[in-house]
């Protein structure tokens, strides 16, 4: 197996902090990718399966073993790679997908597992590690001002805790879009936090408020032009521009043609995927879409019927997203990660369910920078252990960074001046273009 192993000691012994330009297998490719993509022109979409999706019923099928269960595998558009029968549309995009079947972590609790997968670190230590979305938006963000750099669609309660910007500071926090029950048109509503003005304040009043505010602001800034006062002014200007601009329109899905809207599915996840495409198109660099309304993939009972429903939602949303991105020429610059906090037990329990299983599970990388049409890693016949290509959450995050052209060893300064890398794992070269 080919991996880039960095010499951490050598890198850390450098004086001071900052980005180290270390030689490595994939850096030249990043340089090349950057040339193609034009530097910061890269996006990341995280499809988060809250609750922990069943690998045996999606991307690591075991049809020849009792653990496999009743869901049938189907041939994808890549010979030898099979997905679940409920992922029929997505199987037509397998040539853009790299299936990682060797994930192993140490956290089998929803809260802790979510923090681990999102930050790379278990919770509880003295360092508040940022979520990968925050770190990536810091690196990839265009500061386009009219739109935030990081948007999270329909995060569940565990995600909300794990989405923290940690030591990067609140300015790298995600803007959350909450899903609300479907309206008359049958589509769930997606509302951005605090993007709506108090309904009692009309345009006239708002204009008067802003006019007076600007006069006050200018006076104070003239007498006290210190860094924090200027920064306050700058961020307010951005927020106000966002409220006044067409950017708000980016969040309004009713602007999409009816056919497109419908093709993503009338679910929060499907509409979230459509929103992700609209946002990426408009320059938002990191978008994450949660599936499972909190803990939906936590299928301790009645696993197969529930996974079927969830998979159909997933299939519609994700496959349409792949096609839509491809049609718009965005798939090459947009890297997609499909993951949940852990996998599920190969053994089927007494209630027809599967329980938490962090020892051996799957994640999927797709799109920009990813060498699709392959599987990486393998589990045993019964699915209980990783037999090849074992990797942990740090390796996954490092590989995601590399696919996006971000050096995983990019350091940020934590509490007490300690430099900390975005991800410390091994980059898995084989799945990168």
């Amino acid at each position: 197996m080919k991996r880039s192993r960095f010499n951490r000691r050598r890198m850390m012994s450098g004086l001071g902090s900052g980005v180290f330009a270390a030689g490595s297998g994939w850096l030249p490719r990043i340089a090349a990718a950057a040339k193609v993509a034009g530097g910061k022109d890269r996006n990341c979409i995280l499809l988060w399966m809250a609750g922990g999706p069943s690998q045996l019923d999606t991307f690591d099928m075991k049809p020849d073993h009792a653990n496999g269960g009743p869901i049938k595998p189907i041939q994808t558009n890549v010979p030898g790679i099979f997905f679940s029968e409920h992922l029929g549309r997505l199987s037509g995009h397998a040539d853009s997908l790299a299936i990682m079947r060797g994930l192993t972590t140490k956290e089998g609790d929803h809260g802790r597992g979510t923090v681990l997968m999102r930050t790379g670190h278990a919770p509880g230590g003295p360092v508040a590690y940022p979520s990968i979305g925050c770190s990536l938006s810091k690196e990839l963000g265009r500061g386009a001002a009219e739109l935030p750099d990081y948007v999270s669609v329909a995060p569940g309660p565990f995600s909300r805790l794990a989405l923290r910007p940690g030591f990067l500071g609140p300015k790298y926090a995600a803007t959350s879009v909450m899903a609300r029950p479907a309206g008359e048109d049958g589509y769930p509503k997606l509302d951005v936090d605090y993007l709506q003005r108090d309904p009692g304040v009309d345009d006239n009043r708002n204009a008067e408020r802003l006019r007076l505010w600007e006069s006050m602001q200018k006076r104070f800034r003239q007498g006290r032009p210190s860094g924090n006062v200027i920064a306050h002014d700058t961020v307010y200007e951005s927020a106000i521009r966002m409220l006044q601009s067409d950017a708000r329109e980016a969040f309004d899905l009713s602007g999409e043609p009816a056919g497109i809207r419908e093709s993503y599915g009338k679910t929060a996840f499907g509409q979230g995927c459509l929103l992700a495409r609209r946002l990426v198109e408009r320059g938002v660099s990191v978008v994450e879409v949660s599936s499972g309304n909190g803990l939906g993939w936590d299928t301790h009972a009645d696993n197969f019927a529930r996974v079927k429903t969830l998979s159909e939602e997933l299939d519609l949303g994700w496959a349409t997203l792949m096609q839509d991105l491809r049609d718009r020429g965005l798939l090459e610059t947009t890297t997609i990660l499909w993951a949940g906090e852990f996998g599920r037990t190969p053994i089927i329990n007494a209630t027809g369910g599967r329980d938490h299983y962090p020892q051996a599970f799957s994640c999927v990388l797709a799109g920009g920078g990813i060498a699709g049409g392959q599987t990486h890693g393998q589990t045993s016949e019964d699915g209980s252990e990783v037999t090849d290509g074992q990797m942990n959450q740090q390796d996954l995050l490092a590989t995601l960074c590399a696919a996006l052209g971000v050096d995983p060893w990019t350091e940020n300064v934590a509490e007490g001046g300690r430099p900390i890398a975005i991800a410390e794992g091994d980059v898995i070269d084989e799945v990168l273009l």
Binding site: P170, Y194, L212, F220, N228, E415, G416
Partner: protein, 535 residues
């Protein structure tokens, strides 16, 4: 008739409620200071007024000397409003309420600033604010680093008790470092939040109490400093014998000290015995063999030069927005103080005052330097000259508590669970780890929350918010209304031009829209950079 009675009553009730609001608001009978004086300390702060006065003078002399040397012209004196807002926010963590602020501005006594400093330092709110600051230092990852909610609250309560009793600082540190028992009883949660790992505890406590970055020597000898890898592990060895017991399911965890447990030099089997940083001799013995107590024998002694320096540097940073050594937890040899004489003098002063931290606050607050304006008039001067006051960004707690007290007109954040939850939600949304008051740490998300979020929406809603509701009363003139809005939000009166702008808005509003107009003015003021900072 029987139908009319309830109507009359309810109108009367409304009037009396309004009267209550207005009278509280105008007479100021319930100022937090007046209501909450501490019983035990009616003497002058620090117990030695003359020493405090002469310390303040000494600091000013030393600064004046350094300005002369560098040909720096210091900023003029702050005006009373600027000083009042600053000293309230720095010492008690909240902007001054309107009534005491008015009283202060209208007071012509020459000693009014000194009296205000002493009054604030004696108030319960000083203890609460100190506990807030220390909570942030000790548990930056709060809430719930232990995985259980509420652990941070018990630490906060413990800290508040220490500051209420004005426990000597050396004693406070020793009590903290030797704390044992359930982790919902105070400082123990700090140790469990560090996983009871000796190297983590060593890193955190040396930064916090000694101002030293010993952990840089954790993996290799520090290239610039006198700290060796050995120094780090000798210090860590004091924390090698702590043990965690779990009690009843879902209950607290207990921390105790054992008689065994060692740290080893990384990559070897060599046991490292405990030793004080920079001291070659073995540590003082403890009768019970408690290693943490062995550490505190030195920690709180005059042989430890770092404790007092780190403490006074933190006070200085809290007041001036930057330490004499900056950052405050990197007081290593390669990061010298801007004014070594002042740091030495203040450290000695703290020791001479028998580690009474309040006397350091009193001395610093009395200096002319602390009372200079933050308004820039002359050419820019280096910030580490302390010749102009730094404009400091308010913490989320300072912002919320000021809003609560001056606009919602509720004084005690924990009195109602609803208010406490609102405060926790705001703090969580705006929280900045490693908060630096010289920066504005927030992004678009937080600012959208200020512009359209629930806190300011509520503040500007006349039916829910005390201040605009009280200001509807007929006997106020518009000029009084505008002045009161400014005092409540920016802690100053408007100048003529500002007053004209705001009066114009109010007088333009139709009679029926006046409530909205009041809300709009409040929205403007609460969203200014001035409201988000301490001048």
């Amino acid at each position: 008739m029987s139908v009319l009675v309830p109507l009359v009553l309810s109108a009367a009730m409304r009037v009396s409620l309004l009267f209550l609001y207005v009278s509280v608001f105008l007479s100021g009978a319930v100022g937090p200071i007046a209501a909450r004086r501490l019983a035990a300390s009616d003497d002058a702060v620090g117990g030695a007024d003359a020493a405090v006065v002469s310390a303040a003078r000494r600091i000013d002399d030393l600064l004046a000397e350094s300005w002369r040397r560098h040909a720096i012209t210091p900023a003029p004196d702050s005006d009373d409003a600027e000083f009042c807002r600053r000293v309230w926010l720095d010492l008690v963590g909240v902007a001054p309420p309107v009534v005491p602020l008015r009283r202060f501005l209208d007071d012509s006594a020459p000693d009014k600033r000194v009296r205000l400093i002493d009054e604030l330092l004696r108030s319960r709110r000083f203890a609460t604010h100190s506990a807030d600051s220390w909570s942030r230092i000790l548990l930056p990852d709060d809430p719930a680093p232990s995985g259980r909610p509420g652990a941070g609250e018990t630490l906060h309560r413990w800290l508040e008790d220490q500051f209420v009793a004005n426990v000597r600082y050396d004693r406070f540190v020793a009590d903290f470092l030797t704390a044992a028992g359930p982790d919902d009883s105070g400082p123990t949660v700090f140790f469990t939040s560090q996983d009871l790992a000796p190297e983590k505890i060593a890193t955190a406590t040396s930064r916090i109490f000694l101002g030293l970055q010993l952990q840089c020597a954790q993996c290799h000898d520090h290239p610039f400093d006198r700290w060796t890898q050995k120094d780090f592990w000798r210090y860590a060895a004091f924390f090698a014998r702590m043990k965690q017991h779990s009690g009843a399911a879902g209950g607290p965890t207990f921390v105790t000290d054992r008689r065994e447990g060692e740290v080893r030099f990384p990559g070897s089997d060599e046991i490292v015995s405990p030793g004080y940083p920079g001291v070659a001799a073995p540590p003082e013995p403890d009768p019970a063999g408690n290693r943490r107590r062995q550490l505190t024998i030195w920690m709180a002694s005059r042989d430890n030069p770092y404790l007092a320096r780190a403490a006074v540097n933190r006070v200085w940073a809290q007041m001036f927005g930057r330490g004499l050594v900056d950052p405050v937890d990197a007081m290593d040899a390669d990061n010298p103080p801007s004014h070594p004489e002042i740091l030495d003098f203040l450290s000695d002063f703290l020791v001479r005052q028998r580690f009474d931290l309040r006397s350091v606050y009193a001395a610093v607050a009395r200096t002319k330097a602390y009372q200079r304006s933050s308004r820039v008039t002359a050419p820019a001067v280096p910030p580490e000259s302390f010749a102009v006051m730094q404009v400091k960004t308010l913490t989320a707690r300072q912002s919320f508590d000021s809003l609560l007290q001056n606009v919602y007109l509720r004084s005690n954040p924990v009195s109602s669970p609803v208010v406490a939850a609102a405060r926790a939600a705001f703090v969580a949304r705006m929280k900045a780890t490693e908060f630096d008051p010289r920066e504005y740490p927030h992004g678009v998300v937080q600012v959208l929350g200020m512009i359209n979020g629930p806190e300011i929406r509520r503040a500007t809603d006349v039916s829910k918010s005390g201040l605009p509701s009280a200001l509807r009363a007929d006997f106020f003139t518009d000029r009084q209304r505008v002045e009161t809005l400014f005092l409540a939000t920016l802690s100053r009166r408007p100048d003529d031009e500002e007053a004209a702008w705001f009066l114009d808005q109010l007088s333009q509003a139709e009679r029926s829209d006046r409530d909205e107009a009041l809300g709009d003015l409040l929205w403007v003021l609460l969203n200014t950079a001035e409201a988000a900072t301490c001048p």
